[in-house]
């Protein structure tokens, strides 16, 4: 039992594990919001496409990926639960109806493509097409509402801050989705996808301005919380990335555009995390260090995550390289 005793004695290598897990939880959230974000964005763009072939192409493009992408949400929830049980329990139970709204949207988004492919008559496909779009738009919107409420520490499900962050996040998924679709199916989709991506980027920047404005009003520290070097740097970087994204998308450098969208997503989540710290549940004032689990389980989880997450990265590399390049029509599920 000496090994257990030494694991219970103090944090691994004396590391600030509470902060590391706080960062890890938000990194998992950001990874989910980027990876499943382009699936959501593709779902939103699906609404604007007209022909059967174009719609089938969108479904084929996200087909092999979305399930794996969605697991990042499960991992985010699991890590938050395992590392900060009171924060997980408090947040999820306080935003009770909102959480079930998110789950409902995810069910709709997951089920709809499977149903869409089952039958090829018009009313059936119209119905499931709409369900797919509704799920794809509502999921990031409600997740954004949750994130906004979380950050400003509201106990209610509907707040101004939540709604503005919801719109911001939804637009960001369209930005990612346009780049992803251009990468996977440039030849089979209309030029307009580029326009949608550009328009969503402009909308996103406006929404970021609105978000900052709302946060200046609703955060306890007010404007001064936003005028710190890291936040100013992240916002400035986002503007630069947005410009780079538009240029890359127009030059059909899709992978670069997708990379810029990824950086924008991680940047947005970083802003939320930085503004929140040292609290993890601002509504109750619970802090990162106050809610972290005790040393033994924390050390065990840290060892587990450092062994497993590199493997997870390998799985994603295998998946994305197996399906690299444009999709072909026969691959429609």
């Amino acid at each position: 039992m000496t090994s257990v005793d030494s694991l219970a004695a103090g944090p691994l290598f004396g590391l600030p594990l509470a902060e590391l897990w706080f960062g890890l939880v938000f990194t998992m959230l950001a990874t989910f919001l980027f990876l499943d974000g382009f699936d959501f964005g593709a779902g939103a763009i699906f609404a604007l496409l007209e022909t059967d072939d174009e719609r089938e192409t969108v479904l084929a493009a996200i087909g092999p990926f979305w399930d794996g992408n969605e697991v990042w949400l499960v991992v985010f929830g699991g890590a938050l639960f395992a590392a900060f049980p009171p924060a997980y329990a408090g947040l999820f139970s306080r935003h009770y109806l909102l959480m079930f709204g998110i789950l409902g949207a995810l069910i709709l988004r997951g089920l709809a493509p499977e149903m869409y492919e089952q039958r090829h008559d018009a009313p059936w496909q119209q119905w499931w097409g709409r369900a797919f779009v509704a799920g794809s738009v509502l999921a990031p919107f409600l997740l954004g509402v949750f994130a906004g409420n979380w950050l400003v520490g509201s106990g209610r499900s509907l707040t101004i801050a939540g709604l503005v962050v919801g719109v911001t996040l939804t637009l960001l998924t369209v930005v990612s989705g346009a780049a992803f679709l251009q990468l996977k199916a440039r030849e089979r989709l209309p030029e307009a996808v580029t326009t949608y991506g550009t328009a969503a980027t402009v909308g996103y920047l406006l929404a970021v301005v609105a978000t900052l404005g709302v946060l200046a009003v609703y955060l306890p520290a007010g404007l001064s919380a936003l005028l710190t070097p890291p936040i100013v740097a992240l916002v400035a970087a986002s503007i630069g990335l947005a410009a780079g994204y538009v240029i890359a998308l127009r030059r059909e450098r899709s992978l670069q555009a997708l990379g810029a969208a990824a950086a924008m997503t991680y940047g947005l989540v970083a802003v939320v995390a930085i503004l929140m710290y040292p609290a993890i549940d601002p509504a109750t004032g619970a802090t990162v260090r106050g809610t972290i689990v005790s040393t033994l389980p924390l050390n065990l989880m840290t060892i587990g995550a450092s062994l497993l997450l590199p493997l997870v990265a390998v799985y994603f590399v295998v998946l994305y390289s197996a399906f690299s390049g444009p999709i072909s029509p026969e691959e429609a599920y």
Binding site: G68, V71, V74, Y88, A89, F316
Partner: protein
Amino acid sequence: MIDPVIASRLQFAVTTIVHIIFPVMSMGLAPFLIYFTWKDIRTEKRIYEQLRRFWTKIFAISFVVGTVTGIVLEFEFGTNFAAFSTAAGELFGGPLAVEGMMAFMLEATFLGVFVFGRDRVGDKLYFVSSVAVGLGTWLSAVWILIANSWMQTPRGYELATENGQTIVHLVDPMAAYLNPRFGYMYVHMQNAAVESVALFMAGVGAYYVFRHHVWGYPVENVNFWEATLKIGLVALLITAPLQVLHGDMYGRHVAETQPQKFAAMEAVWETESYVPEYIVAVPTSVDGFTDPRAKELFGIGIPGGASWLASGGDPTAEIRGLNDFETEAPPVAIVFWAFRAMVGLGFWFILLAFWGGYRWYKGQLLEDGLLHKALMGSSLLGIIAVELGWIVTEVGRQPWVIQGVMRTSEGVSPGLTGTEATITLVGFVGVYATLLGLYTYVIWRIIRNGPPGGDQLRVNRDETPAPGPETPVPGVSDDD
């Protein structure tokens, strides 16, 4: 409005009862799919490609619905059982997080390759992806059942009071995670999943075999359905006897570690020795259905059977009655009848397996219409038996959410209102009924459309002469 505690419990019951169907299908299909993929790659026979592709479709839809219904369960610990999550997060959250990273990631990523990637990757990577998906589903069950079994037989923890709240601290991870229940639960569950899928395969195969060989209708790809029936039967012959064997050991373990649950399974109210085991139980009054009491049942009982089961061989052993526990009894009627129905089904599956095996041995497997009907009627009973087993496990441990440590009613989110809980409960009943209907519809369509044939198959691409006519002549078997 329904009381939040009752509504939360009902909602968790509804969402788990529906969810478990999909993992049973995916975990049960996993070994078959690995085998089909291996044989398909090695032999390049069309039958194995058909088996792989047909059952992969069923696996894929089960996996997708299992994903979206599974996330609901993870969220519900936070939304509805916040007090439990806060108190037990250290022991309970860890396994869930590891399940996500170790198992769910593995299956969900390689599922993409396995379902969509046959033409994209080489044989080796394709086979590896089938193993990765299968391994992922089975590893997933390891961590989920570690979390569940710890609640049944909690070990390796210490209780502390922090800010007026009782918190469960992990002190011995090996004792906690490899708690006494885990092994029994894992073996019983995984075998049940394979058995359920074996019954489903045999039932679906029997349907087409019956249509073709008994009724004489033309059936496309009849050799595919014959193979499906036979593979299902072989798997049933292996799993059905095992299920009852380790089920017996599991029952004895429950008697030792959760005596109150065991008393409810046997409806023993007063402590006594030489308790009989009722194989067939008939209540002597209407109340006997809703309030079964072992003493008042009329039935075929093995004298001393329950005592024998509980003690591992002593028919005179004492069983502690429900009246002699400090806590109130779980809903005895549900536990008592669910346990009997599950055990009855378990023995029926053995009978079915030996009946089929015997007919096959005699060369009459394809002609025995009664056997085919029995298999068709039993195709979903494996899943029903799994549901019944979980009902015994979860209803039987009430009033405890963590056996002897925390009551279920203490685990519910303190701020949850009856209105909120009722809204989501009603919503889930509606959404999950629809979900189950759609899943059934998709499975029905996959079965009706049958396996891919002719020029859809990869195997035929390399063969120059086109194969003969697909449709066999009515009444004539093309059995090998």
